[in-house]
């Protein structure tokens, strides 16, 4: 059933066994896990069935530190949440992402990748993906396959969800479920508790039209994303004055996202039309995939590198000119009227000659755009305690303190960026396929300054078995609070280079199992 909370009587109480706050990928997945069972589920959503500007404005906050896309842009606050506009790129975390790395403080999950594997397999289906296989070789399709490279990088794939709009795809199931009620336009103001804050006793809810409601359940699940989850905990400070679950000053800390550089480098291939279809979006046996370059795990660990992914985009004329200008600038005494195209033609011919020695086959070396690609780079970052979400002094329409976002890049980000591209250059060069130009501050402006976040809000209620190091335990239960659980990417302690939604759904399925056990 779907209910507009604004139609409920003032001060009425919603009663359920499980109250899930947030109807995005995680919240809907957990609710569906109880479909038509005996457990009564209330799925409480801030927005309605469609976008509403006033509701969306509740996301607004202050950006400090590194530039960051505001949550009003990156999130959608209505039924289905941000799955209403996600791209659909999916990939599980790598096994190394779960492991504790001696060189990365605060790294590691309480369990390994194999533990999450069965949940990932189920998440594949929920996200409408193909077979649970992300190795490049599996996705070879005749002549379309990964490049024959070796060294520090290898090919891997992302799968593309259609993308699954969770409200559209699963909304009817929830509407028709006998035991699940979706409450729309109901905003959580506070998680109620009483000293010594060992359990949540209820939810204080409000509609934007002024209506006040309450909800009571045996178990509560916060599933509002990596920014709203900590905000709701921190705003629940009437009894727990530092915020609920924040005894160790961890809520909101370790805020993470994938830093992305759109034009990390230009790649000049030795052939006129390099066979790169594998690295473009394409469909193999009914599944849409894209090949990327990722580090070889052993090399990554040996060199202390961040996990990363690099994909190829067709280069623009501006990209080509910039990278050519780099060489022209260096060759000061050779500027007799040569254009950027001349410089590139020289380079293309020269590397074509040398690479022909290593056995590649060449068309005419013309230096045309069809040989040019640019790289898009994104990466893992080590957990950083001071990268964090706190509360602003500004308040929203419901009187709640807004967020203050302070996203920080690690000190070794530039080194990781450079080394990742050097590894790719070495792999492509060794195979006689291409040369790579890494953008630097001198030629196209500092690429590091152009870093964007990837709209993946993670880490702010991190998982750790020890409450001194994590907000939730291995079961996603808030340390010290018996009936409060957290779903979504805010529990990720580390996160690799994979987009988070598949892992969010896998963890939601796993959490549903824990909830079932807790109710038994």
């Amino acid at each position: 059933m779907i209910v507009d909370a604004r139609a409920l009587p003032q001060d009425s109480t919603i009663a359920a066994d499980i109250a899930i706050i947030g109807a995005g990928a995680a919240g809907i997945t957990i609710a569906r896990s109880f479909l038509d069972g005996a457990v009564k589920v209330a799925l409480i959503e801030s927005g309605g069935l469609d976008f509403d500007a006033a509701t969306q404005d509740l996301y607004d906050g202050d950006i400090v530190g590194h530039d960051y896309f505001p949550p009003t842009v990156t999130r959608l606050r209505y039924f289905g949440g941000s799955t209403n506009h996600w791209d659909g790129l999916c990939r599980p975390l790598d096994p190394s992402d779960f492991a504790r790395r001696p060189d990365v403080p605060d790294s590691g999950w309480p369990f390994d990748a194999a533990h999450l594997d069965p949940y990932y397999r189920r998440a594949q289906s929920i996200c409408q993906l193909g077979p649970y296989d992300y190795e490049a070789a599996f996705w070879r399709d005749g002549d379309v396959g990964p490049l024959p490279i070796s060294g520090g990088v290898r090919s891997a794939v992302f799968q593309n969800s259609p993308p699954t709009r969770f409200a559209s795809v699963y909304g009817d199931e929830l509407r028709g479920a006998s035991n699940i009620t979706v409450y729309l336009n109901a905003n959580l103001l506070e998680l109620d508790t009483v000293a010594p804050c060992r359990e949540v006793t209820g939810l204080a809810l409000a509609c934007l039209d002024g209506k006040r409601l309450r909800a009571k359940a045996m178990l509560y699940v916060l599933a509002c994303g990596g920014i709203e989850n900590p905000r709701l905990l921190l705003n629940s400070d009437r009894v727990a004055t530092r915020g609920l679950g924040n005894d160790n000053d961890l809520v909101g800390r370790y805020f993470m996202d994938h830093p992305k550089i759109w034009k990390g480098s230009e790649v000049l291939f030795a052939t006129e039309r390099p066979d790169l279809e594998f690295y473009d979006y394409h469909t193999v046996r009914g599944t849409r995939i894209q090949g990327v370059f990722v580090p070889v795990t052993e090399v990554m660990l040996k060199e202390g590198l961040a996990n990363f992914a690099i994909c190829l985009d067709h280069a623009s004329l501006a990209d080509v000119s910039a990278s050519a200008a780099a060489l022209r600038t260096l060759k000061r005494n050779f500027g007799h009227g040569e254009t950027a195209g001349d410089v590139l033609r020289h380079l293309a011919r020269a590397i074509g000659d040398v690479d022909s020695l290593v056995g590649a086959v060449y068309d005419k070396a013309t230096g045309s755009l069809r040989r040019f690609f640019s790289t898009r780079y994104w990466c893992d970052c080590p957990p950083q305690r001071d990268s964090r979400i706190t509360l602003s002094d500004r308040r929203d329409a419901l009187g709640q303190r807004r967020v203050r976002i302070d996203w920080r890049l690690p000190a070794d980000f530039a080194r990781n960026f450079q080394r990742a591209h050097a590894l790719l250059a070495e792999a492509l060069g060794s195979a006689g396929l291409a040369r790579l130009h890494v953008n630097t501050a001198e030629d196209v402006g500092d690429p590091i300054a152009s870093v964007e976040n990837s709209h993946h809000h993670m880490g702010t209620t991190r998982m750790h078995v020890d409450p001194r190091h994590g907000v939730v335990d291995a079961d996603c239960r808030v340390h010290g609070i018996a009936n409060l659980f957290i779903a979504g990417s805010s529990v990720f302690p580390t996160y690799g280079q994979a987009n988070p939604t598949l892992t969010i759904v896998a963890l939601a399925l796993r959490l549903a199992d824990h909830l079932r056990e807790a109710l038994a």
């Binding site: 060489l327 260096l330 011919r349 020269a350 074509g352 040398v354 591209h421 890494v438 030629d443």
Partner: protein
């Protein structure tokens, strides 16, 4: 292509007139490749020595200490004298350069020219082309 390369080598052997006159004009002369000095044989591996020379000049600007033919030849294929290299059959010379070039990328022996990441071997090969084209002077 083989014929064109032979013509080029012959041109280079005929007094290094290629840089001054434009390489293609004198390709009609014929000289056996094995009789050529090693730097000319290396340049002969390249189909477009003019383009290689362009990049080579950029390399020499970044690495001026290598702008001397004897020194750069020693660095290009270390462990073998110029005379020994010159005596190698063409296929063996090609194999040596190829192996060294691949090994550079595999082992991280690269050089960045204005952000372009090249193998040391190819950069030096281009530099040899530059020195040859410029009359063996930096």
């Amino acid at each position: 292509m083989i014929r064109a390369r032979r013509r080029l080598l012959a041109t280079l052997a005929a007094g290094l007139l290629w840089p001054a006159l434009g390489g293609r004009r004198l390709w009609s002369l014929a000289t056996p490749a094995s009789a050529l000095p090693i730097h000319l044989r290396l340049v002969g591996l390249l189909r477009r020595p003019d383009s290689a020379a362009f990049i080579g000049r950029a390399y020499l600007e970044a690495e001026p200490a290598e702008a001397e033919l004897g020194r750069i030849l020693a660095l290009l294929l270390p462990g073998r004298s110029a005379a020994a290299l010159a005596a190698l059959p063409a296929a063996e010379l090609r194999r040596l350069v190829t192996a060294r070039h691949r090994g550079d990328f595999s082992e991280g022996r690269t050089v960045s020219l204005g952000g372009w990441i090249l193998s040391r071997t190819e950069a030096r090969l281009y530099a040899v082309a530059a020195l040859t084209a410029d009359g063996l002077s930096a």
